[in-house]
């Protein structure tokens, strides 16, 4: 018999739709999950109202990481914006660089060279692997399986080595700049990348055996955190979260950017739209990224221009216009909305991070009626990163 919680104690709704929660009645308890809490995905917090072991209402609080990027960029020249955009999202900074660069290029009428596009794609896929590795560790860690985090962080370190070799930095690469990329591939990079990919595949096999085949892991994740496919559009859900619900939403296929139209892949979808399916879709997406990197390395041209000719960046003015550039990052649709006004500074930059909708509106909806123990797992399974919510 399935577990049926006792809902007789649950709060009534007032006529205006809010919950009638009387904290002094002793039935309900306010619990803050975060910001100082190991089970939270970064520096944010969820205010839970619990009744017994079940959550009756949740409210997301963000803003702990707000630095005002969109304001800061308004007082920096176009090239000065380039080093700071990557700071918006720590685990996968390259999408900021790419989206910003592509938006500036489009408004300024510059095309980045073919070889630069291949290297950009390579970097974006490498970043995706890193981000998924963080996710796998977090998802297992949220259920107390710490050893997966150890293995995947080890694999991520290997990938960071390749990043370091290519760009000179571990976390913030500052490699994709408007007009192209900073450098080509170093000597012997392809071969070392192949070794890294092999190691990652072998670690993933271990992860699959220990995590995905584990009965306890299945028990904790199957059927929990279900997202109705009908909600996808109204809540702006994108990325693996949407694909796990059976909708093949993948910007790489829907609106191919860079060189994705020359690569051979199919968006990965799942069926059940619960935590387990989302985890599985991400694992298979990771393997697909490994495959894509192999394709990119095999197909990319070895010589050619890396940078388009830029005007003097100190006096670079871009005519009035507005555009929106999107890319498929590991969490969903990442986009930059850039408005220029003919001066040397951006008029307005708006960053659309997938977590913006996932972590606030969607999480507040999904969190109702689940056990406190599952809150962390649910939050991780939406793969949210607070810095892209508040910038």
């Amino acid at each position: 018999m399935a577990y049926q919680p006792d809902r007789s104690q649950y709060p009534q709704r007032r006529p205006d739709g809010t919950l009638d929660i009387d904290l002094t009645s002793g039935k309900y308890l306010k619990l803050w999950q975060g910001p100082q809490h190991p089970g939270i995905t970064g520096n944010m917090s969820v205010e839970l109202t619990v009744c017994g072991d079940e959550v009756v209402a949740g409210k997301t609080h963000v803003g702990y990481l707000h630095r005002g990027f969109e304001k800061l960029m308004e007082r920096r020249t176009f090239i000065q914006c380039f080093p700071i955009v990557c700071r918006i999202c720590v685990p996968e900074p390259d999408f900021n660089e790419y989206c910003y660069a592509a938006a500036v290029e489009e408004l300024a009428g510059i095309t980045s060279p073919e070889r630069a596009n291949w290297i950009r794609t390579l970097i974006l896929e490498m970043g995706r692997i890193n981000s998924y590795m963080m996710y796998l560790g977090g998802q297992a860690g949220s259920l107390g399986q710490g050893v997966i985090g150890q293995w995947t962080t080890y694999a991520r370190d290997l990938m960071l080595d390749r990043f370091e070799e290519l760009t000179g930095a571990r976390i913030y690469h500052m490699f994709i700049l408007p007009g192209g990329v900073r450098d080509g591939l170093p000597e012997g990079f392809k071969q070392r990348m192949e070794e890294t990919l092999k190691e990652i595949e072998s670690i993933l096999k271990d992860v699959y055996n220990v995590m995905y085949c584990n009965a306890v892991f299945k028990k904790r994740t199957v059927g929990i955190g279900y997202i109705d496919p009908q909600l996808l559009d109204s809540y702006g859900i994108t990325g693996p979260t949407a694909r796990a619900a059976g909708v093949a939403k993948d910007v790489r296929r829907d609106q191919p950017y860079l060189v994705y139209d020359q690569l051979d892949f199919e968006p990965i979808t799942g069926k059940d739209s619960d935590i387990y399916t989302r985890a599985d879709v991400r694992r298979r997406d990771l393997l697909m990224s490994v495959d894509l990197i192999r394709q990119i390395l095999a197909k990319m041209p070895d010589s050619g221009e890396l940078m388009a000719k830029l005007p003097n960046v100190l006096h670079w003015q871009i005519p009035r216009g507005e555009t929106y550039i999107r890319g498929e990052c590991s969490r969903g649709e990442y986009g930059y909305y850039l408005v220029t006004d003919g001066s040397g500074y951006p008029r307005r930059v708006n960053v659309r991070g997938p977590s913006y909708t996932h972590a606030v509106a969607l999480l507040e909806r999904l969190i109702v009626n689940i056990n406190i123990a599952d809150v962390a797992a649910l939050m991780v399974s939406l793969h949210t990163y607070p810095p892209e919510i508040e910038r």
Partner: protein, 213 residues
């Protein structure tokens, strides 16, 4: 002041009515005191050795530096070798790594967490943004100097500092602790008024007691 923090009459589950003043009832307002070292120098030395060899970090990633914390505790860098480990609650931690820029909203939580830690406690500022604002020197929402608000023992520069830098910083902090010079908690108690004035100047929404532990 938020409505739930105001003084009010509540009715308990048993039917009695009583007055609640959340700020006064739930927290202690006594300012911190300077805690002296142990009576004997030898014992204090022994304690300092133990403190240096057992550094428990509060698991509070305040900024982007938190991303390098996980590599720090995993196979490549493995800070456990140095007696470093995470604690999820401020009561049991000794070291607060401020991993990057602090927005005003986080600063408030950081101060509360810091005050709940027990004496002796240490603060390490990680990243250039804790030293002088770094990349966010002109931002309206991030503080520029961490040592205006909390007593800092050590800064690690960089954006973002590599895990090696962090490990070197921890080793350096151990030397400071072993020499008995890491008295941040006592400095905080001595200059309490000054720190509070600085904190209150920045945090406009001050709805907590002056010192809470």
């Amino acid at each position: 002041m938020k409505p739930e923090l105001e003084k009010r009459i509540v009715k308990g589950p048993d039917g009695f009515e009583f007055e609640v003043d959340p700020i006064r009832d739930y927290f202690c307002e006594t300012p911190p005191t300077v805690m002296t070292a142990a009576y004997s120098a030898i014992i204090e030395k022994l304690f300092n050795w133990a403190r240096a060899e057992s550094i428990w970090i509060l698991g509070f990633g305040t900024g982007c530096g938190a991303i390098e914390m996980r590599p720090l505790m995993t196979p490549r860098f493995d800070a456990y070798r140095y007696g470093v480990q995470w604690r999820p609650t401020p009561r049991q931690s000794n070291l607060f790594i401020i991993s990057g820029y602090l927005s005003v909203k986080t600063l408030k939580r950081v101060i509360r967490s810091y005050e709940q830690m027990q004496n002796p406690k240490y603060v390490v500022g990680l990243g250039s943004c804790t030293i002088n604002g770094g990349m966010y020197w002109d931002s309206y929402n991030t503080i520029k100097r961490l040592d205006d608000y909390l007593p800092v023992d050590l800064y690690i520069a960089g954006c973002m500092p590599r895990p090696e830098a962090l490990l070197a910083g921890i080793v350096e902090l151990k030397k400071i602790i072993r020499a008995g010079k890491a008295e941040g908690a006592n400095i905080y108690a001595e200059k309490f008024e000054w720190y509070k004035a600085n904190q209150k100047r920045v945090i406009h929404d001050w709805d907590m007691p002056d010192y809470n532990w």
